[in-house]
């Protein structure tokens, strides 16, 4: 994914929107360079899913000093702000558009792709509509239940399915966990939690993310 500039992430169900945003932020945190992350979203998504919360973002591995949040009133404005962010070389833009937003046409995604290619920046589009798009991949995301022992919550876990892939076959499905300290998404290994922990410490197996 890191080699291509434009990807789409969609929630598997409307209730998974915050999980989809979380997955996009995890990818962005892993790629974040000196130019930082621009999170451009539509205001009604922020009111629906809550506003970005700096202490939580810091714990998630996003450096607050490198994050700029744009709360756009309309989808068109969020998209325009995303384009301006992509004009920064090396930047990572997370653009979150609402379900009803029709701003993102095929032409608009082509523009994003062109700008990102020209400036070697990267864009993660979060939208639920699965429509024609210039994005290299599209991922359908929902949360994956924790595997930790007892009643504890494990690291953030995502159940992701590659539903579209311009560069190869689609259909693969992974459960990936986010390690905020190492800034890495790794595939969760099957089996019980203890065995998984041992496995991971011996041979960390990275997902294609």
């Amino acid at each position: 994914m890191a080699a291509k500039p434009l990807h789409e992430i969609g929630p598997a169900a409307p209730s998974a929107q915050s999980t989809a945003i979380g997955f996009a932020l995890a990818l962005a945190a892993g790629w974040c360079g000196p130019a930082g992350i621009i999170w451009a979203g539509e205001e009604n998504v922020f009111s629906e899913e809550g506003a970005p919360y700096a202490p939580g973002l810091a714990q998630f591995g996003l450096d607050p000093e490198r994050l700029i949040v744009v709360r756009a009133a309309k989808g068109e404005e969020a998209l325009w702000a995303a384009e301006q962010g992509l004009a920064l070389a090396g930047a990572v833009v997370v653009c979150v558009l609402s379900n009803h937003g029709r701003a993102l046409t095929l032409k608009a995604t082509r523009r994003l792709l062109l700008i990102a290619e020209r400036h070697r920046s990267r864009c993660l589009l979060v939208r639920s509509l699965n429509e024609a798009s210039a994005a290299w991949t599209r991922w359908r995301v929902q949360s994956a239940p924790s595997q930790a022992e007892a009643r504890e919550l494990g690291p953030p876990a995502f159940d992701v399915e590659l539903v579209r892939n311009r560069a190869g076959p689609a259909g693969a499905r992974f459960i990936v966990e986010w390690n905020a300290d190492e800034h890495s998404l790794s595939e969760r290994v099957a089996g019980d939690y203890l065995a998984a922990a041992v496995d991971r410490s011996l041979a960390p197996r990275r997902a294609r993310a």
């Binding site: 202490p55 939580g56 949040v69 009133a73 920064l88 919550l153």
Partner: protein, 499 residues
């Protein structure tokens, strides 16, 4: 504007008949005239005359009660209109204005031409004005009110000499002191021995004299703070299109930036005033996150704002003048801006700042944000957002409470915690199921409680926070306010969501 109050009423059509008009107010139990129009003045009516005397002279006088607040509003509106001639306009209540025309007069054909233009245009709007040009505010005040209008070329001392001492803006006490001493004209004060004026009232009179003659400084407070740098442009013909306005803005930016550069600074904030033929002043503001020295960059921000404002300009009568105020200047440090070089694989901090400026200009500064972490426990106040534009140079404070100390916080927080219906098995335990957004959710895992005590100053209750995961793997940050067994049943809320 000696007839401000009556001019206002006449202009508003509040005195429709052609009877002489006077305005009165209650003073020490008697009604006293505070303003008279031209016809009343021609009959010999004057300010400070009692209403009874005035009625005796002219029984059918149209006398209306004074409205000082409305007069003040009118004066302020006239002051705002005058800002098309200079950025420095001082309101001298109740009926005067000071205009500092330094650096502006050349655009209007010289000082005298500017003065005449202002008087003529105020007259066209229905306001009688008397104006005088002088090197000091005190002298201008005196000449505008007491001089007959002839031209003086002999310097201020000679011009002021024949005027009565009241022309020095004296209070009643100081004026009566001078009268008792037999000093009637300003000229007589020049030679009077200063040692005679030991009383406070006398000192005040001497200070006013020194201020009028320019021997003592006088600080006036302009209606708007005087910008450190400004550029003014007058159109020969009114302009209507944003293209023309932008062209003028380009000239103004170029002019102003020459001054800015001379001062060795950069622009942080600028305001473009577009003065309409209709008398209104339209303001367009831009902010820059880093000191900006390039006129082209400023023009780009103004172009964005003008495109946004095009519909709201209401410029159907045209714009007759424009002024650019550089309202905030900041020094530019000589040290390199950033370790990351621009044009390479990564954008420099300057590039990021330029992006912030542009997006803020179009969407509004309140929509482009950076994190602001605060060292407080209350979750709502621990993480705030500030306009990225406001102070991009300021370092974001580190999370003051070490991450290890605080338990995990959600990625997003609701502006208002959302109430949920929750069921708990043990009184002080986490919920086992809850209903949020009409969906019943079964809790699979829970961590907590983390007790966050409320701010007693804000009368907040203590909250017990839990991180819970439902059977689908979705994670919520919920809290209970209040405890079981208390008078009121505890209430549950969802405050945020985890990834």
């Amino acid at each position: 504007m000696p007839r401000l109050s009556t001019d206002r009423l006449l202009r508003a059509g509040r005195a429709p008949d052609d009877r002489p008009l006077a305005v009165y107010a209650k003073d020490a139990g008697a009604f006293v005239l505070t303003g008279v129009d031209q016809r009343a003045s021609a009959l010999g009516l004057k300010r400070a005359m009692s209403l009874a005397d005035a009625r005796a002279i002219y029984p059918s006088l149209n006398a209306l009660e004074a409205a000082p607040d409305e007069d003040a509003r009118t004066l302020d509106a006239i002051a705002a209109w005058c800002e098309r001639f200079t950025p420095v306009v001082v309101i001298d209540a109740p009926d005067g204005l000071f205009l500092d025309i330094a650096g502006c007069a050349h655009l209007f054909g010289g000082e005298a031409a500017l003065r005449d233009q202002i008087v003529a245009r105020l007259a066209a709007h229905g306001f009688t004005a008397r104006a005088a040009l002088a090197p000091t505010p005190g002298a201008a005040w005196a000449l505008a009110r007491y001089e007959s209008g002839k031209r003086n070329a002999g310097g201020i001392a000679r011009a002021l000499s024949p005027l009565p001492v009241e022309a020095l803006r004296l209070d009643e006490e100081a004026a009566s002191l001078l009268r008792r001493l037999g000093l009637k004209t300003i000229g007589q004060l020049y030679d009077a021995p200063r040692s005679a004026f030991t009383a406070r009232a006398g000192e005040r009179a001497m200070l006013r004299l020194d201020q009028a003659l320019g021997r003592a400084a006088e600080a006036l407070t302009p209606r708007r703070p005087a910008p450190p740098v400004f550029a003014l442009k007058r159109f020969l013909e009114p302009v209507f299109t944003t293209d023309h306005m932008l062209e003028a803005t380009r000239d103004l930016c170029a002019d102003a930036l020459v001054d800015v550069e001379r001062r060795g600074g950069g622009v942080r904030h600028a305001v473009l005033h577009l003065f309409g033929v209709d008398g209104r002043d339209r303001l367009i503001e831009v902010g820059v996150s880093r000191p900006e020295r390039s006129a082209a960059a400023l023009v780009r921000l103004f172009r964005e704002k003008l495109a946004q404002a095009a519909e709201n300009l209401n410029a159907e009568f045209g714009i007759e003048a424009a002024r650019l105020d550089i309202t905030l200047l900041q020094r530019i440090d000589a040290t390199p801006r950033d370790l990351v070089a621009g044009g390479g694989a990564h954008a420099s901090a300057a590039d990021v700042a330029a992006m912030i400026d542009l997006v803020s200009a179009r969407l509004g500064a309140k929509r482009v944000l950076r994190a602001k972490l605060n060292a407080v426990h209350a979750p709502e106040r621990a993480g705030a957002w500030r306009a990225a534009l406001s102070n991009a140079d300021a370092k974001t404070p580190q999370l003051a409470i070490a991450p290890a100390e605080v338990q995990r916080r959600p990625l997003t927080l609701f502006a208002r915690p959302q109430p949920i219906e929750a069921m708990a098995t043990v009184p002080d335990g986490p919920p086992i199921r809850f209903r949020w957004r009409r969906v019943l959710r079964e809790v699979a895992r829970a961590e907590g409680p983390e007790r966050i005590s409320g701010d007693w100053m804000r009368a907040e209750c203590a909250r017990d926070y839990y991180r819970i995961e439902d059977t689908q793997g979705r994670r919520y940050w919920v809290y209970r306010e209040g405890f079981y067994g208390e008078d009121a049943a505890p209430r549950w809320f969802v405050h945020g969501l985890f990834a």
